[in-house]
Amino acid sequence: MLIIGARGTGKTTLLESAISDLTEEHKGEFLTVRLNGFFQTDDKIALREISRQLGVEMELDERDQPKATNFADTLSSILAILSHPDELRAPDGEGEEPAQEDPSSTTTTLSVIFILEEFDLFATHPRQTLLYNLFDIAQSRKAPIAVIGTTTRIDVVESLEKRVKSRFSHRTVHLKSPPTLRGFWDICKEGLSVDMDEVDSEINGSSDEDRRCFEAWNSHIENLYKNDRQFQRHLRRIYAQNKDPKSFFNSCILPLSSSTTSFPAGPSFSLPTNQLGEPDSILSILDGLTDLELTLLIAAARLDIISDTDTCNFQMAYSEYTALTSSLKVTSSATGVTAGRLWSKGVALGAWERLAEYELLVPAVIGGGSGGGVSREGRMWRVEAGLGEIGKCLEMGRAGVGRAGLGKWCKEV
């Protein structure tokens, strides 16, 4: 079974709550093995982790665990555990010898739930051995196991191999982001407000004052949504940008942490712009660049358009830079303004390489960063930012004061 949904739509939360419900109902009747595609980067590690988690869950001793010597051994021992539930008597990790010491113990079959987070990464493992075996066991009913994968990729089924795909049950659940602003707000409100039932159950005999205080808080939150213009705009922006409650909560951290002191008196928190948010793009670093770096970047971006190739090297950018700066000198000497200064090649090369370090320039050839015998000036690079983007950034004044003169170069080619 697969759960597909964008980041922050609550795939894991859904799964965890389902599992914890199950645990309450059927305690001790199943084991859970949690794997994550980010952590278990290949099948070998994943298998070791499975055997470890199974071992922990079944309360085995460390030394009883199968020695993780090679892939085949581990796989076969785990398969043995999984495929012969009859032989899996109480703590016997090897599962190979049907317990000879205690024949009177009752045969218990334990179900195992495998949770594979970032399922798409498991599909990239060579030959998809792990997936094949898990699906095979699940399908052939050798052992009572369930495999649940969560992923963000909607086409993940296509990346499965044929033999794996045919064993997959093709049951998928899609989780979607809230379709309306109202729905999004409901989620956010849930996180912000205090759950009265929970308060009652957790704090026995909570004083009336506390209750009143919490109620005041809740109504305050609701008021914010209904009446506060700024708050509405903020909420709508996040909704339009990514529909991710997490980024809303992030933006709430600062106001909340500063409003705690006034909490009992009915808090007042106005949401400013998101101070803890992720920057929009790599161009946000433009304001930290020196004038020389910025001019070189503009020169290189101009070359993209002028010469109709997407690569350029330092020599080309420097000659473009020289042309730009000297033309500026001519025009500005007429008006009497001190113009940008023309830096020598050595300085400019240093600035150029710093641009490459910031990844505003990427090497055009794979592994071209190390050169391949070509001198530093001749190496080909690709500019990561378009001229239009840079120009817009300069116009908005994000790139610092006094840079407006450079904006002209971004418009006229």
Binding site: G288, T290, S307, W343
Partner: protein, 442 residues
């Protein structure tokens, strides 16, 4: 959030210590907080170099007495080393027993959750310069980011210089941006480190003197910023290095008593040249005076090698279809050119501006072309005792010629490329009295 807030005095001292970083410190305080307040599983600090990310975080964590582990990621060569450092560091700081080995992220997660399971306090794992990790991949960073989610009492703090989008490939963690300092802020910071004017009467150092020094220092910093640092060195550290280097020669007239402290503008005019030069901007090992007149060094190559090198340069920088025009002796040079002119009377206005070939860098050429051009540019017949192939091999081992394709040296399809600049080649050509300018296509 509980009522337990950071003491206000602590924030004040931090703000005094690090001027112009109040918003960042306030955000850190909100996110890191004290042991009672919750922290997000992952935090990202980003900002260009020399904006105080590392220093402020370290001082902050130290002063709130948080339990933290500091890992300098750029010092770790392999992922395995990084993992083991984290594992050992955390277990040591938490006070666990054996460190054990953790070779991959999976094992690291197990180890850390084991080490931190019995700990009530929050623990911070700081990954400094995580984008400089040598073998880092997105999957690795994502896994490191998830460590905080998997282990409740752990918060992972990443320090980056350039923010990457979807760096942890998860719903976004809180970011703290360390904005670059503006001119005013930089000068304010540098004002904390006012250098003395080296004058003779050190004994009678008064308040007034200090005030004067501060005045000159700030003026001077402003000038350096406008003339040099704005263009090339935005970082406070680089800025300070330049200021430090230029300070003593600048205030020498004041120290000698020739100028007062208040007529700054005349002092500036006196030193105007100093701000024009670039010697303070570039780091050099050789002292500035030694390299004033750089002479292009010429290897003392054999006679034919020099011609070979010229031929290689021509082969690299001339388009192959113009070879006939330049090098065929039987053809009338002028006629060829004229015919070339008449066949293309339609004046195609080039949509794209033509790039000068010299800027494009050397192009690859097959060995046969080199030999043909070599034969054409030789002023007389090749002496039969000269071994041209060996000389080519020598040029290659000198790295003046480089192999441009991955095939074997002996294969006919192997391409070559010249690895010397125009100035060098011109010098070489002059020593054999060869007018290379006539043959270079413009």
């Amino acid at each position: 959030m509980t009522d337990e807030m950071l003491p206000a005095e602590l924030l004040t001292t931090l703000n005094e210590q690090f001027p112009c970083r109040a918003p960042q410190i306030r955000r850190l305080a909100a996110l890191v907080g004290t042991d009672e307040t919750p922290s997000p599983p992952a935090i990202i600090l980003h900002g260009l170099e020399a904006t105080g990310k590392t220093t402020i975080l370290r001082t902050f964590l130290g002063s709130v007495e948080a339990s933290y582990t500091w890992i300098a990621c750029h010092e770790c060569v392999t992922v395995r080393q990084l993992m083991e450092r984290i594992s050992v560091g955390v277990t040591e700081n938490v006070g666990g027993g054996d460190a054990g080995r953790a070779g991959d992220v999976c094992a690291l997660g197990v180890r850390l959750s084991g080490a931190l399971s019995g700990v009530e306090r929050k623990h911070f794992l700081v990954l400094d310069r995580v984008d400089r990790t040598r073998e880092g991949s997105n999957v690795l960073f994502a896994a490191l980011g998830r460590l905080g989610e998997a282990i409740p009492s752990l918060t992972v703090i990443f320090i980056l210089s350039v923010p990457k989008l979807r760096f942890l490939s998860s719903a976004e963690p809180p970011h703290i941006h360390f904005a670059p300092y503006t001119k005013e802020e930089s000068i304010k910071i540098l004002s904390k480190y006012v250098r003395r004017i080296p004058s003779q009467d050190i004994e009678e150092y008064t308040e007034a003197d200090a005030k004067e020094e501060l005045y000159v220092w700030q003026k001077f910093c402003g000038t350096v910023w406008d003339s040099l640092a704005k263009g090339t060195a935005r970082g406070v550290v680089q800025f300070r290095a330049i200021v430090d280097e230029m300070w003593e020669p600048f205030v020498k007239p004041i120290a000698e008593g020739k100028y007062g402290t208040r007529n700054y503008s005349s002092l500036y005019l006196l030193h105007k040249d100093m701000f024009r030069r670039e010697t303070n901007v570039i780091d050099t090992v050789v002292p500035a005076g030694a390299g004033e007149k750089t002479v292009t060094k010429i290897h003392d190559l054999p006679y034919y090698s020099k011609f070979l090198l010229c031929a290689a340069y021509l082969a690299s920088y001339n388009p192959a279809r113009q070879d006939a025009m330049f090098f065929m002796k039987s053809n009338d040079f002028g006629r060829k050119k004229r015919r070339g002119g008449t066949t293309g009377p339609t004046k195609r206005t080039a949509k794209n501006r033509k790039i000068h070939r010299r800027l494009l860098g050397p192009q690859a050429f097959p060995l046969e072309r080199l030999q043909a051009i070599f034969a054409a540019i030789l002023p007389h017949r090749l002496s039969s005792s000269a071994d041209v192939q060996t000389q080519i091999a020598t040029l290659t081992s000198l790295r003046l010629l480089t192999k441009a394709s991955a095939t074997d040296v002996l294969e006919a399809s192997t391409k070559w490329r010249v690895n010397a600049g125009w100035d060098y080649i011109r010098h070489v050509a002059r020593t054999v009295k060869f007018d290379i300018e006539d043959f270079v296509a413009e």
